[in-house]
Amino acid sequence: MIKKRGIAVFLVIGMLFLFALTFFWLHVHSLTHGRTMFELLEEQQALSVAEVIARIYLEFLEDVFINRTGCEKIYSSNPFDPSNHILLHKGRVPDNIEKIVPADLAKETEFIEAINNFFQTIPVFHEKLCENQPFSIGARFVESVRTTDRTLIGKIKVSVEINKKSGHPDQASSYRFSFFKSFKLTNILDPVVSKFTLFVRNVPTPEHYNILNKGFQQDAGDRSVLTLINDSSGNASLRPVDGENRWLHAGWVFLGGNEVFINIDGSQINRRNSEQFIFFGDAPFGQNETGTIDGDFYPGTSLFPRYVPMGANSMWLAEFLQELLGEDTARLVEKPSVIRLFGDRSNISPTLVLGNVFARWAMMASLIYDEIGQGAPNHITVAGDVYSLNFPMPRIERQDYNPRRPPDENANPILATARGSIQPQPPFLLFIDGLSDTVNLNVPENGLLDLMPNYEDYFSYMSKLSTDHSSNSRLPYYNSLYDMAFSHRDTNRVFPAPQLLSNLDYPNTGENIDIPYGTDGTRNLLSGVNLIDYDPCAPFTGNNLENISHLFDNQQMLKSSSFINLQGNVKRFDKPGVIKINGDLNLNNPSEINAPVKIISRGNIEMNDIRTIGPAGKMVLMSLEGSVTFTGTTLEATVIAPSGTLRWQQELDMKGSLFVNELNAYDLSQHGGKISYNESTNPANSIEHNRGYIFITGPYIESSIER
């Protein structure tokens, strides 16, 4: 009986023990549940705090990318040295890039201060954090892919650890989070357009720009001119040796694939807008006879050929000059062009001209009689008249050349001293009067028949237009003026001037172009570019968003966005971006550009003054389907309108590159102005060009908790 009761007591105690155990487990589980909920809330707070810290850190990283300085691991201490750019030249982010921590930032102190100020806004949570090191942070570039030649897309991973004060051993002493943000690295500068001062896809007719009525002594004609300043070197270094690479640093010019004739302004060199500086530099015309080019001595005679180049002006219609070229030929150089491709006298800027572009100007040729080698024609007096023994050699066609000795009536030409209004006395004939009893000059007895028996001989020395030269020679093409511009400082100046450009540049039609990268000219940014069908808008048309950072449905959305910082009536662009607008764009107030910005509009663009401020400021305006109208006076921007043109309403002062489908001569000559090439966009100057790169982080930040 006692034995059975013991079993019952045992069973009861056992059940009690099990009950107690169960309730103890329930109690512990309940406490654990409560603590877990508490930790979830605390983790949520820690996540929010970590995200704020990560976003502040990303702002500092963006500052490094925008200013290209401030982190030795990304950029060297020289902010313009692109060789240390971890993303730019590799194509993808290398795996061995070290973690970028605050100590790597030049603005580490500001970062720590910003975080401390942030902690003051969350005193309760801050109280729970470790005093010595409340947090740690670092960034890595974890993925990247080069989607196009100009855009790299990837992700940045920012790891943040929030360290709590030591608490219960079971509680986590720190929370670790990772934040991912996508980025785009892209250059707002078009690799081709940024190499040009002016890029015109179509010029309607060969004589389109030769519409200026201007006399020899006039400063300006009946229209204004558009002058291209292709580099800022001015005329300081127009030595022949500098011509070998000046074109690398200068902005180029392309005038489409069709034949274009550009008449050089031949007004007197001291006149404003004269282009005679191309031939003579900035020296005053006539000083020490720098306006002439002497040729080789004719053996056995005292005759020297002498050339005086002269551009187009209305004086060519004067009788004595018409006789030199012939009426029809003289009319070709009556009107100078309204576009000036090599700058002006105070900013001589020869450059490479691409396309089928001819330069038209006249070479006034003569034989001078210089018996003692003084470098100037002798003077003689006959019957009281003083003659300068300078005998113009008129332009004649092959079929008209007849080198007989006058007075043969078929002789052509008859070389005589200048006639007409310059010397009213009867002309002095070289091979008749010069061999007379009264005057015996040291000249061949049979005249031209001895000196130049064939037309080819005479052609080489006669007065003619630049375009009279065969297309096989480089002389008709505009790039021959590049050679000539540098030759005037040569003490042994000759004509034709020594060739400075490649054989392929006379002419260079632009169908197979290499865009140089680097100042030595040995590397190329792009090779084999066909300028005739080049379309800088192609990466931005349709629904292609790869090369775009921000898309707006209309301009109102852009104007109300954080891209535009209103400073009074001035719109300031502080943020970098490649912005596309599905519509027109009207920037009717002045704008200041403080970051690399490219705005792409589907429609027309109208804008007021645009000025860059700060070294990072660059603006590119692109109209995909329309035209661009400029209502201000100062335009510091690259303007691209492949389907339209640029119009302006007062004298233009543009610094940048202009890419248009057409540039109408009558429109541009209403107000004229100048386009100065912005050398900070030049791909050949890779250091400056790379400052067009922008680093855009995506709008969203993804987070994950690491346990």
Partner: protein, 160 residues
Amino acid sequence: MINKKCYLKANKSGLSIIEIMLAVILLGIMIGPIFVTLFQSQKVIRVGAHDLETMNLASSFIFQINRMNPESIAVTDSPQSVLPDAYGFVRIDTIGDAPVLKMPQWDKDTFQLFYTAQRLDLFDYEDGTAKQAMVVVVKVNRTAYGKEEQKVEIPTLLIY
């Protein structure tokens, strides 16, 4: 047969007082933890529900703040109360017109919401101007049975 009779006879004597007391004590020992566990669970459920509601309220506030222009939010000197109007809309101090916030209903006795908005200087540009951000912190003070239960701070950053 005899043994069976004896057994029945012995059982008729019933339980002793000691046995009953022991049973009551044991029952008490068993039921006590049940109540303790019950109260503990109720507290856990209540705190858990409050935690969830705290996160819900803070997230709702922060989500709408994140969509605002930082320039439109006025800087606060001290924590500002977040109180809904009769239609459930919440208005915060703004510069110019700013959208009102739509918040879920909450128990005002248990949850007191505040927010602070402070301007944060990040770094200076070359021209002397500063890169700035706005830190908005929503603070939830929770009380239960007249005692402070929890203080939560959820921050967010708006870049100018």
